[in-house]
């Protein structure tokens, strides 16, 4: 029996590894490519053993506009998230505690907004932004991304807040705490995993966002995904070393984030229904 089980286990593991490798292969190719020379990257069969070079990265970051794109991505996704999380936390608290009569309807609306495809809203938003004069402005994009992240964050956070007993709030209130004290000193520390989860989920969404950045953004507010599409071509063809280096640099921040906070992400994905252990 043991032997059969051991044999099966080996098969499972081999299969899993195979699937993982197939999915990981393109990523490995692009990461390895970032360290290859221009001729090496397109060699057939692909070179697995080669002398790594950092030239591609040096070339990438010495381009006039590239550091700016990275900075844009960082600044906009982070500040949009900070706004979104603060607003969502307070909104979720209000939904969870004061239970306005239309809570369920509003929560449904929030979720269904998330279902609307981006292309459906991009034209009206564009017209609106053009009218306000927010095209190619930081504040415009940051607020847009914050707005886009709020519904999902409210959903995640409401789940977490519902899990925090109202007795905590009441104990603080009876002992003389203010509502702000309850929000930030009593409740917030208890939903930290939810905050982190909401933060990272949405951060990755903004980090990867292409369409709105392309339409609402402009030269000053370009983020990395759009920069990809506009800078891909140089020297009359696809510049593979540039692509590989930029893709690699682009991947690193989210990978680090997800790695560091992976346990929070799991909790976040279950909307706070799986608790403890964090």
């Amino acid at each position: 029996m043991m032997r059969v089980r051991g044999w099966r286990k080996t098969v499972y593991h081999t299969a899993l590894w195979l699937v993982a490798l197939i999915f990981f292969a393109p990523i490995a190719w692009i990461i390895l490519g970032a360290f290859k020379t221009r001729s090496g990257i397109l060699a057939t069969p692909p070179l697995l053993i080669f002398t790594p070079t950092l030239d591609n990265f040096i070339d990438l970051f010495s381009r006039r506009n590239i550091p700016g794109y990275f900075l844009n991505s960082f600044v906009m996704s982070l500040s949009a998230m900070v706004i979104a999380i603060v607003v969502s936390f307070m909104a979720a608290y209000a939904f969870s505690r004061f239970k306005p009569r239309i809570t369920n309807f509003l929560m449904f609306m929030l979720l269904s907004i998330r279902m609307v495809p981006a292309v459906a809203v991009v034209v009206p938003v564009y017209l609106m932004y053009a009218a306000i004069g927010w095209k190619n402005s930081y504040i415009g994009l940051i607020l847009f991304y914050a707005m886009f992240s709020i519904p999902f964050s409210v959903w995640i956070l409401k789940g977490f807040l519902d899990g925090v007993s109202q007795r905590y709030d009441e104990t603080a209130l009876v002992n003389g705490g203010t509502r702000w004290h309850v929000l930030f000193r009593v409740v917030l520390p208890q939903v930290a995993p939810g905050l982190v989860a909401a933060f990272i989920f949405n951060l990755i969404f903004v980090w990867n966002e292409f369409l709105f950045n392309l339409i609402l953004g402009g030269r000053d507010t370009t983020m990395i995904p759009v920069a990809f599409s506009t800078d891909l071509y140089s020297d009359g063809g696809l510049n593979w070393t540039f692509i590989a280096a930029m893709a690699t640099a682009y991947m690193i921040p989210p990978i680090i984030l997800v790695y560091v906070f992976q346990k929070y992400l799991l909790v976040g994905m279950t909307f706070g229904t799986v608790r403890g252990e964090v």
Binding site: R167, Y168, L173, V174, N175, G176
Partner: protein
């Protein structure tokens, strides 16, 4: 008689349901007052109004003789032990206990001795450096109580603080709570739906049923002669025996026999509810007792006492017997007696109208 708390015609409606309807009650200062009622009888709402977490729709809430209806909870200066502990998981025990003082703006150095002496009095001084999730249920409870009493004030509100604890832990806390009430010389307002807790802890008891006060007073008085049949049914352990009878010309006809009754009713026949506490049924009847035959169907050992379940010609009764009389308790037919004056009579609306007479 100074009043710590007074409700004057307080009404409260939640989404169309009247939870409290014109409720009035008074809680004397420096007493251990238990608000007693079945779950859902409105006790928690009363505490929420008392602490200021909710405002009444109508009526006034008076604290220390002054109208407090619109004073926010934090300014009412109450010690508070919430239901289900609510210890802050991100604070150490010491910080949990010191939390009310911290909110008052007391510096840490000043808090320390107060926290330590509160922990001392609840025998949890060794836990001060732990986090709440490292504690057992009973320890958490003690921490929650310590946090509730650490504030220097005269009114403490305890919202059913012993629910969910096993009997042994509760028993240990009973003594501590009473001792604490006396040493603080303050008013303790305590809600529970557990009759035994009410009987052990209360000096004063207020009995609630579906949002109104059935009766209030000294525990001994309320227990001995409940003014309402619901109090009789709720407040007592084991539950009181209740059965129907008819009263006619001063004589009560009941399934356990006839007996003369002192009531303020005269004349014609009236149906009544008869109540007898299990403690008053005896298996060694004497001459002046009402005596009837019954069958013992089950005997339950409570340790020091026995509960006997009886069947008296189709009427189910319970009797509580002390250990000494246990030899009488063999299953089968027995003769059961009760002093007629121990039988209380209630009218159809549930109000006390009199008692049996020998």
């Amino acid at each position: 008689m100074a009043l710590a708390v007074e409700f004057q015609n307080v009404s409260k409606t939640y989404s169309g349901t009247k939870v409290l309807d014109q409720l009035s009650m008074q809680i004397e200062a420096n007493t251990f007052t238990v608000l007693f009622g079945a779950p859902g009888s409105g006790k928690s709402v009363i505490l929420r109004l008392l602490t200021g977490l909710e405002k009444p729709d109508r009526g006034r809430v008076m604290l220390r003789g002054e109208d407090a209806t619109h004073i926010p909870p934090g300014d009412r200066n109450l010690g508070y032990v919430p239901q289900s502990f609510a210890l802050y998981p991100h604070y150490k025990v010491a910080d949990n206990i010191g939390y009310p003082l911290q909110l008052m703006g007391m510096p840490a150095a000043q808090r320390k001795p107060i926290v330590e002496s509160a922990a001392e009095s609840l025998k949890i001084a060794h836990l001060l450096d732990k986090k709440p999730d490292q504690l057992s249920g009973g320890e958490k409870q003690r921490v929650a109580i310590a946090r509730g009493i650490v504030k220097h004030t005269d009114i403490f509100v305890l919202d059913d603080p012993l629910t969910g604890l096993d009997f042994k832990l509760r028993e240990q806390l009973f003594d501590d709570l009473r001792a604490m009430r006396e040493s603080l010389n303050a008013t303790f307002i305590y809600t529970t739906s557990d009759a035994l807790e009410a009987l052990i802890l209360a000096e004063q008891v207020i009995v609630f049923d579906s949002g109104w006060t059935i009766e209030a007073g000294k525990l001994e008085t309320v227990y001995a002669r409940p003014n309402h049949v619901r109090t009789m049914a709720l407040l007592g352990f084991p539950e009181a025996n209740l059965f129907d009878g008819t009263l006619e010309n001063g004589v009560c006809h009941s399934p356990i026999g006839q007996f003369r009754a002192h009531t303020h009713l005269n004349g014609g026949a009236a149906s009544v509810k008869i109540a007898a506490r299990p403690q008053h049924l005896q298996f060694t009847p004497t001459d002046e007792m009402i005596v009837f035959d019954a069958e013992i169907t089950l005997v339950e050992d409570l340790g020091g006492e026995f509960v006997a379940y009886l069947d008296a010609r189709g009427l189910s009764l319970t009797a509580l017997v002390r250990h000494a009389d246990a030899s009488e308790l063999t299953e089968g037919r027995v003769r059961v007696g009760i002093q007629p004056e121990k039988l209380l009579l209630y009218d159809q609306d549930g109000y006390l109208i009199g008692q049996g007479a020998s």
